[in-house]
Symmetry: C2
Subunit: 189 residues, 2 copies
């Protein structure tokens, strides 16, 4: 198989996402999501992890956590965590996230949605790697709460096939799902 | 490749584990570890997930959390979580964990240690699958805090190769590491 290794970016979306009734909400940031995604990202050579939320207090919270582990005492006592947390940044929206990547890479990213929900046109990682025609970076979107709102799904270039378990069970945590997708994407050179 | 699918068991060890100074401690249980491991275990058809701690208050905490999601209101409002959390049980020690598996399976499990630490005799999952000669169940041990104490490592039959990232970075959360090991073991039929 062609050994295609795109520059990878992750975004963890807190708005627009769904609640259990299918209504659009802004979810609260979870501290362990930031740590787990940063550590997995550092492991698999992801360029940046965006925590996406338009809420001022939530953005402030993320910045405080990241500063503790990068410029603060956390980074002094745990340099490995510092190396991971340096990858985290905050964005207001999916659009500003894509603009940031475009500014860094001088190319628009290919946006890939990961979702546990049904969709008619799933793509597998193997298909996307085989069909990649250029050096565009890949942006993987992960939703919080009950998943990404349709307006987010519709902005993606492709929908990745969910991780199904026995009897179709697909209710992994976003921490687990992101880790497994990264391992499948970049863990087997 | 031979399509070998062992009955899988997980144990998350909270004693004996190491603190950052290399001293043996009992770590505190983390709520999200229980949820994430249960959900990943349910996804990949793991038979049971053992939360191993000898501390009475910690055992009580785990039982309260699990009961909320199985016999309590949590299970009513979220049946998918209930299906995952039913896999959790509590054990005092690695030895009692192995005895429980032996009672269920009528065979002693093959105990596999996963560790981010260096070791001279790593085995890969592919090697173990190819060399499996019998139907013994596999028990995967994961350590909390700064990893499993030597006395735990020495009781294992094999040490699995850690998940290395770029430049040898191997500091995944136990939630990420367990998810990735399960996907590599059971996610590609």
């Amino acid at each position: 198989m062609k050994s295609f290794k795109p520059n990878l970016y992750l975004a963890l979306i807190h708005y627009p996402v769904l609640n259990k009734h299918g209504e659009i909400i802004a979810s609260a940031v979870t501290n362990l999501d930031i740590h787990d995604l940063a550590r997995a990202a550092r492991t698999y050579d992801v360029r940046a992890v965006y925590i996406v939320t338009p809420l001022t207090d939530q953005k402030r919270l993320v910045i405080q956590i990241v500063e503790h582990w990068t410029t603060g005492m956390g980074g002094v006592v745990n340099p490995d965590r510092k190396a991971a947390m340096k990858l985290i940044s905050v964005q207001d929206s999916l659009e500003s996230t894509r603009a940031d990547i475009e500014a860094r890479e001088k190319m628009r990213p290919v946006t890939l949605v990961t979702s546990a929900r049904e969709c008619s046109e799933f793509r597998t990682i193997e298909e996307l790697k085989l069909q990649a025609k250029d050096d565009r970076p890949w942006l993987l979107l992960f939703g919080t709460a009950w998943g990404l709102a349709d307006e987010c799904m519709l902005q993606a270039d492709h929908v990745l096939k969910p991780i199904y378990g026995v009897n179709g069970y697909n209710h992994l945590s976003v921490r687990s799902a992101a880790s497994i997708f990264l391992d499948r994407l970049a863990g087997h050179p």
